[in-house]
């Protein structure tokens, strides 16, 4: 199965180094009221980009924290009156309650898609390879419009249209992506994706229906007295657990296949990617995350118990004579512990999921026909500031 020459990709970033940056940055979030997140995200991206290599050449991230901080402030200035207007309109429409909430949700949904497109545009525009920059044009609004129409169609077809939705949106994004003078496109089709994931989609539906039927049979059996409530609880918990497990398993497989499909469809000029990504690449980091969260939660709970009982004495004394100061202290301690837990969870999620899956995807990919990159001549406007990222940050549109 020898195809055109492929240059394997690799990831050279050390996990320990990433973890150190992550912990240091997360700790600095506390005294900076969260403002440090711009520096943290920039630092992490620089590490990830530079250590993502085609052969032994690495990418480069050109974004700066100052840029996205200013972008955040600009987006804030634009969105504040929008949110205010939306609140006032919501008040006015409160009488027609149903329509008010619908308009709200639709607006936020559109805004979300817009932010996702602009966020991607920023990250693409700040990426360079061999000194030449990637860039994106196209319109966030046009993308949001398309995405909403596809979302509605997908829901109407009970998610069967989902693969075609992914293909259409990716085609739009890649049509407007470029590397220097090389233009992007997306060649994988919705049918390809459908063929890869339909069994697992069907499995989820089947398990859901099965669990529903089982629960239905069990509850009617209880009502008729054939089975006691204990038996019903067993059936109910077992079926719920089965649904969850199979749901998660199917999602993992679907996600893996979708990633592989997506990579296989990317084109920049005549350059493409071959992916060997397997389920283990998602499963292993997820298991690490699961274990990490258990351990971290245990630590936080132990810490919390120590503080609460240190301050308040035993549970009995706390319940017997609750004083104002004790109540406040306990309340404050719980709030603080919650914050600490969330920060720790953020670190674990970024270390295992964000970095872990990124590294696994990169290590199982190879670039085909990299010689075609040499045709790329620097092009593309320098426009596009941190405002793109500012929107995404403000609306929490995720991404790494």
């Amino acid at each position: 199965m020898a195809g055109p020459p492929a240059t394997p990709m690799s990831f050279s970033g050390r996990a320990g180094e990433f973890f150190g940056m992550l912990v240091r940055g997360t700790l600095l979030l506390i005294p900076t009221f969260g403002f440090y997140r711009f520096w943290l995200v920039t630092r992490l991206r620089r590490h990830l980009w530079a250590n993502t290599r085609i052969g032994d050449e690495g990418f480069e991230y050109l974004g700066t924290a100052k840029e996205i901080l200013i972008g955040f402030l600009m987006a804030l200035a634009i969105l504040t009156p929008v949110y205010l207007a939306y609140f006032l309109v919501g008040l006015y429409l409160e009488e027609q309650k149903a329509f008010a909430s619908l308009a709200l949700v639709a607006f936020l949904w559109a805004l979300g898609h817009f932010a996702v497109y602009r966020g991607r545009r920023y990250r693409v525009k700040r990426t360079a390879f061999r000194g030449v920059r990637f860039w994106m044009d196209g319109s966030g609004l046009a993308y949001a419009g398309r995405a909403i129409l596809w979302d509605v169609f997908t829901v109407l077809t009970l998610f069967i249209a989902f693969p075609w939705r992914m293909a259409a949106l990716e085609r739009y994004k890649m049509r407007h992506s470029h590397f220097g003078s090389l233009d992007g496109r997306f060649t994988a089709t919705g049918m390809d994706l459908f063929r890869h994931i339909w069994p697992f989609g069907l499995l989820i539906v089947g398990v859901l229906i099965g669990a529903g039927l089982l629960n239905g049979w069990a509850s009617s059996a209880v009502l008729e007295g054939k089975v006691d409530t204990g038996g019903f609880m067993v059936v109910s918990s077992v079926s719920t657990a089965l649904v969850w497990l199979s749901g998660v398993a199917c999602m993992v497989v679907i996600y893996t296949r979708m990633l592989r499909w997506w990579l296989s469809g990317l084109r920049l000029g005549e350059v493409s990617i071959r992916s060997d990504f397997r389920v283990g690449g998602v499963l292993r980091p997820s298991l690490w995350l699961f274990v990490g969260v258990l351990v971290w939660s245990a630590i936080v709970v132990a810490l919390g118990a120590g503080i609460v009982f240190g301050v308040g004495g035993s549970i009995e004394s706390l319940m017997a004579a609750p004083t104002a100061t004790k109540a406040v202290a306990v309340f404050a301690a719980v709030a603080l512990l919650y914050l600490v837990w969330m920060l720790g969870f953020g670190v674990l999620a970024r270390q295992f999921l964000a970095r872990g899956i990124w590294a696994n995807v990169v290590r199982t990919s190879a670039v085909v026909n990299i010689a075609a990159f040499e045709m790329a001549v620097a092009a593309g406007s320098e426009r596009g500031n941190g405002l793109d990222q500012g929107f995404a940050d403000l609306l929490d549109a995720g991404g790494i």
Partner: protein, 354 residues
């Protein structure tokens, strides 16, 4: 003059790697390709940028796309490794300290604005909001109140008549052109509230704990004070402004939701105490004008206070001991009771109808 070191040159215009030899002078890096010099990078502007783990990457200047890449393990690479990083690629201790200092300043500024500036702005804004808008807001709050306390209004005719009589007297004494609508809700909670727009809810639990018409009259007059001062609207504007500023501060830092709630409750607890004191004064004045004493209202509140469990500084209603003293003494010329015995009994039983 150093011997040439093997490196890769990327001119930033075409995505092609060019193997070159570089050497470091006192003031420049010489880049030679196939024996001939292709570029001279003045050291004053050359900076280091991010490279893969084992590779050194240099840029010609802050704005140039051109790059030089060489292996960190190569002999002679140490000299190049000493070149400083691009200014905004450094986040050492000093840079971090600067960020902490500026963030602390920004955070402090937002918090101080929330505590001192927002109440002032809310005051000014309250005067500007037209009554119709306030009533609409009131309808929104009304829906939420009904969700929490139920929407069963008590409507026994005799009780309702007594309530109306009382409200009219109090409104007139307080100087209000129209008496605000007073409704009793069927709920065991002993509380009363004034919504933006003028509707007043008395919860049945409060009626149950009251031992005389003067006690309830005081509470109704207190709530009318809130209506007269548009405290509901002001409180909403304050809470909105405060939570907006504090939400601004934390952006998307997860887990801040808890902190925000605590801050809000504490801040709003403090500022609405003034509103409560003004409403108390309104009630005192109205009762005295009717020739009745404000003290019974204080007694009712003391009774309720004995059962409360939230610490004093978190409660929006001030501590009752100080409040009792502020309410003042009885009138110089006391007049007859506000409700007859019959009316009072009917009022107590307003929620007894089917």
């Amino acid at each position: 003059m150093q011997a040439g070191l093997a490196a890769t040159f990327l001119d930033g215009e075409v995505a092609r790697r060019r193997p070159v030899e570089i050497s470091l002078n006192e003031d420049a890096i010489t880049i030679a390709e196939n024996g001939g010099t292709v570029a001279l990078w003045p050291l004053a502007s050359v900076r280091r940028v991010d490279g893969p783990d084992d590779m050194l990457r240099l840029t010609e200047s802050e704005t140039s796309p051109a790059r030089l890449e060489l292996s960190l393990h190569a002999a002679g690479a140490e000299a190049f490794a000493r070149i400083p990083y691009l200014a905004d690629r450094v986040t050492g201790a000093r840079a971090a300290l600067k960020i902490v200092a500026w963030s602390a300043a920004a955070g402090l500024s937002l918090i101080l604005s929330a505590i001192y500036l927002v109440p002032v702005i809310a005051d000014r804004a309250t005067a500007l909001v037209p009554l119709r808008v306030e009533q609409r807001l009131g309808q929104v709050v009304d829906a939420q109140v009904k969700q929490v306390f139920g929407d069963k209004a008590c409507s026994d005719p005799a009780g309702h008549a007594a309530l109306d009589a009382l409200s009219q007297k109090l409104a007139a004494a307080g100087g209000l052109a129209t008496a605000p609508e007073v409704i009793v809700l069927r709920s065991p909670v002993p509380n009363a509230m004034a919504l933006p727009g003028g509707r007043i809810y008395i919860l049945n639990g409060l009626l149950g704990r009251a031992q005389g018409a003067d006690e309830i009259a005081g509470v109704i007059a207190h709530e009318m004070g809130h209506v007269a001062h548009r405290d509901g609207l002001r409180g909403l504007l304050r809470a909105g402004g405060t939570s907006f500023l504090i939400g601004l501060l934390f952006g998307d830092v997860t887990g801040a939701g808890a902190a925000i709630t605590v801050a809000q409750v504490a801040i709003n607890g403090v500022s609405s105490r003034e509103a409560e004191r003004s409403a108390d004064r309104f009630a005192s004045d109205a009762l005295l004008a009717l020739g009745r004493s404000p003290k019974p209202m204080g007694l009712l509140l003391s009774r309720l206070d004995r059962d409360a469990i939230t610490p004093a500084f978190l409660r929006s209603h001030p501590v009752s001991k100080e409040r009792l003293e502020a309410l003042g003494d009885g009138p110089a010329n006391p007049k007859g009771p506000l409700l007859t015995d019959e009316q009072w009994q009917a009022l107590k039983r307003i929620c007894d109808a089917s």
